[in-house]
């Protein structure tokens, strides 16, 4: 590994999708970019279901061919099991020409980081960013090299923080607020074999996944909790998202985490049945808690927060990685503009907040269980992002929220602006789907009506 330079135009903290995106785009513009990553890729992380608009970001990053060649499992859409009803949507119906994917994030993120390096980013793994400091137009990032034990600094003009939940800058400056409306924990693991749900309610064995593309299944499991089922190349990722009120019950059921997790999966409607003949991959259970938060400030004197380092809400609409791409790209455009014209630094800081704050607010509204928003001003803020989305993107968000009973959260936006596509009745999803097994007469049990409980 070459020595870590003492100077750069831009230092990017974190090598997840958000950090890689910002670093890659700025290197393409010819800036000298250093990226520090605490771990060694591939590393484990959650967030494996990707909506189709991510391809446009990959085009800009020069990563589309690399990702296509990795042959991730193509998904066809979503299946939601809510209140005893099965609903489905097909993403092709929205006119996307390239498929949404189920990705192993270790591999996916590693590819993006390697592409960033190819574009000229100087990537240093096993280096942890510690603190930032500012002095006039100069910034400094102090870091620890976990390989050599060395502690040192890099001087730069801009810092992009893509450190994920760690949130180096937001924590240092005390900008992170946890969301009192969304207090969740999540536990997830991987299953081999078993079945998955395809379009038309067809239940197929895992070996069919490249022939008959799977859907992402989301099943409500009582209160605000839900469960995901994401078939991938080798195994299926299954996770439980549990509301605060469910956590005590969850902990009481089973002698250890593995037993509790298996019991929770077994009780999830439809998902439990899909996993009937599946086996849990041993020693690969992960957990995360209280992951919903947002910052009081998104950008400031020479720094930008991107991806999860800025904010995160409930993952129900699979928007996390897209938001990482979005914020990484927006920050790159703003840093580029600022470096070209120093007199406009404040303008770009403002532009970034004006773009990103409404987007995060819109995601938060569309993720909250219906009627649970305690911030009335959010509707006006979210409207700014909604208006910048194309009609198809608007309809997709509306359909997604319909599938999981959250679409009423968007109604106040339509009341303000009837031009939004959140009020069109979309025929791009179906209700009351009957699940049937491929090549088998054995019936697939209908989900029990009413909310299911994990407890």
């Amino acid at each position: 590994m070459s020595p870590i330079p003492a100077k750069a135009d831009v230092v990017v903290i974190g090598g997840g999708p958000a950090g890689s995106t910002a670093a890659n785009l700025l290197a393409q513009k010819g800036y000298d970019v250093v990226l520090l990553e605490k771990t060694t890729h591939p590393r484990v992380t959650v967030g494996e279901s990707l909506l189709p608009h991510f391809w446009k970001y990959l085009d800009a990053l020069g990563a589309a061919d690399d990702i296509r060649d990795a042959a991730f499992v193509k998904k066809s859409g979503g299946t939601a099991v809510w209140r005893g009803m099965v609903r489905q949507m097909r993403l092709m119906d929205f006119g996307y020409s390239r498929p949404p994917l189920h990705v192993e994030r270790g591999e996916f993120d590693h590819i993006l980081l390697k592409v960033a390096e190819r574009m000229g980013v100087k990537v240093f793994e096993r280096v942890v960013a510690r603190k930032i400091a500012s002095n006039g137009s100069q910034r400094r990032v102090s870091y620890g090299n976990l390989e050599t034990g060395e502690e040192a600094e890099i001087t730069c003009r801009f810092i992009v923080d893509g450190s994920g939940q760690t949130g180096v800058i937001a924590n240092q400056l005390g900008f992170r607020e946890f969301d009192r409306d969304l207090r969740f924990m999540s536990v997830w693991g991987y299953f081999e074999n078993g079945d998955y749900a395809a379009q038309g309610g067809l239940v197929c064995p895992m070996e069919k996944r490249y022939e008959i593309p799977p859907t992402t299944v989301q099943a409500g499991i009582g209160d605000w909790g839900w469960c995901w089922h994401i078939p991938q190349k080798e195994s299926t990722s299954v996770g439980l998202v549990l509301a605060l009120s469910q956590q005590a019950e969850f902990k009481a059921r089973g002698a250890n985490l593995e037993e509790r997790f298996l019991e929770g999966c077994r009780r999830a409607p439809v998902v439990g049945e899909l996993l009937r003949d599946a086996t849990l991959v041993p020693d690969a259970l992960y957990g995360i808690r209280d992951f919903a938060y947002h910052p009081t400030q998104l950008a400031g004197e020479g720094w930008y927060l991107v991806g999860d380092a800025a904010a995160f809400v409930d993952p129900i609409n699979s928007a996390g990685v897209l938001t990482a791409f979005y914020t990484g790209s927006a920050a790159a455009a703003c840093v580029d503009g600022s470096l070209k014209n120093e007199s406009r630094i404040d303008y770009y800081t403002k532009v970034y907040s004006r773009l990103v704050r409404p987007r995060l607010t819109l995601f938060r509204l569309s993720a909250l269980p219906e009627g649970q928003n305690t911030y009335q001003e959010d509707y006006q803020i979210a409207l700014k992002a909604a208006r910048l989305d194309s009609a198809v993107e608007q309809e997709l968000l509306m359909v997604q929220t319909r599938l999981t009973d959250r679409s009423l959260n968007l109604a106040p936006l339509v009341a303000i602006d009837s031009g939004l596509a959140y009020n069109t009745h979309s025929n791009r999803y179906k209700e009351n789907i009957q699940l049937t097994r491929l090549d088998s007469d054995e019936p697939f049990p209908a989900p029990v009506a009413g909310l299911q409980s994990v407890a």
Partner: protein
């Protein structure tokens, strides 16, 4: 000589075609094509267009002007730029 609205539309059209619609025929865009609401430009593209306009015409726009209200068609953009470069 000051750029006319027609010049501005032409310049911005070339920029959009080369930057955001590579390979697309120039006929794909006319003065009233809805750039934002039809998905030709996403919100990040609006940041880049404004940076381009600022550099090209030596003007300064404001953060709130990055909205479909001012940038949704080539005509809207030309009107916004002309108003800003007009001698006060």
């Amino acid at each position: 000589m000051q750029a006319t609205e027609a010049d501005i539309k032409e310049t911005v059209k070339d920029y959009i075609l080369s930057e955001f619609l590579p390979g697309e025929s120039p006929d794909a865009l006319d003065d009233s094509t809805l750039l934002i609401t039809s998905g030709v430009l996403d919100s990040i593209a609006t940041v880049k267009i404004v940076s381009f306009l600022e550099e090209k015409y030596g003007i300064e726009l404001e953060a709130h002007e990055l909205s479909p209200e001012y940038l949704n068609t080539l005509s809207d953009i030309a009107r916004l730029v002309t108003a800003r470069i007009a001698p006060k």
